[in-house]
């Protein structure tokens, strides 16, 4: 009803853009995702650079063309678009297409689009995309490699988290010893 009143007020002068603005301000509360709202409104005060803003906690971005050496610890999101040489301890790591990363990595999730040399230990997923060139030792729980990618070195499944598709064979192996103990328990009861 209120929306209709707006339209009447503006009359025929209303153009599509202002209609969109009225519409989006009106439904601001409905858009629970603030980022979606920012994108819709194209708010210039909240400019993002590769998904990382200056106020985000625990984020580090090594931009394209930048060369950095060192040690990153306790980071949440790490994005390597330039050249980085050193160790990284971060919740999630992304090496973008032009990125070049050398060093020891300890993370939850890694996605590699660019160049990587070194050792990786991920507690969760390791994604190697088609443009990637990855060499080293990889320890993972979920590994995904896209056709065309280069991945060389030792690959090891850590077995911390069960894969998406549960293996039937391993389940039956685990069940067998349990069944055996059940039978022996029954025997004991009979003897008593």
């Amino acid at each position: 009803m209120v929306f209709n009143a707006h339209l009447d007020h503006y009359g025929l002068d209303i153009n599509l853009i202002s209609l969109f603005h009225i519409f989006s301000t009106y439904f601001k509360d409905l858009l629970s995702n603030n980022k979606l709202y920012d994108i819709l409104m194209e708010d210039e005060s909240n400019q993002e650079l590769d998904g990382i803003t200056a106020n985000d906690n625990g984020c580090i971005l090594v931009g394209e063309g930048v060369s950095l050496e060192g040690r990153i610890a306790n980071a949440k999101d790490t994005n390597i678009a330039g050249t980085y040489n050193g160790s990284i301890n971060s919740d999630s790591l992304y090496v973008s297409k032009n990125g070049n990363l050398t060093g020891d990595i300890k993370t939850q999730n890694v996605t590699i689009d660019g160049k990587f040399t070194g050792d990786v230990r991920t507690e969760n997923s390791l994604v190697v995309n088609s443009t990637a060139l990855a060499k080293g030792n990889f320890e993972y729980s979920i590994l995904e490699v896209k056709f065309g990618a280069t991945i060389e070195g030792m690959v090891k499944h850590s077995g911390a988290i069960s894969p998406i598709a549960p293996a039937e064979k391993s389940l039956t192996h685990e069940e067998q010893p349990i069944l055996d103990t059940d039978i022996s328990d029954n025997h004991l009861e009979v003897e008593d």
């Binding site: 060389e152 070195g153 998406i164």
Partner: protein, 128 residues
Amino acid sequence: MSIFGSQEKKEIIEEKFIFPVSDISTSHHTFISEDLEINGNITGKDYIELNGKVTGTLKSNKIDIKEKGLVNGEISADNLIVAGEIDGEIKVHDLYIRSTAKIKGIIRYKNIDIQAGAIITAELIKTI
């Protein structure tokens, strides 16, 4: 029933992508069933579908190791799809590893594709 039907269709489409139907009908299609256990060497020129167990070497142009397929030994192929288990050395041009696969050993490949969920503990070597 309808859900089952759609799943089957998806699988067929996926396989067509790698093995064109015309290719299979004109080639020698070898099928190794689930209850078969082979000790020794298998050499073919075309397509082998493995549901059973092989201890030894497996060599062909296209090899499809299904979920219940198991290989203990060496595999060399042009095109290999793995949904089962392999323990040994793999030499392949195009390798597709499905989410249900379990692989241990050495993998020599030119192109590799691994679906999330596969359990692989191996040395990966890219050949030129």
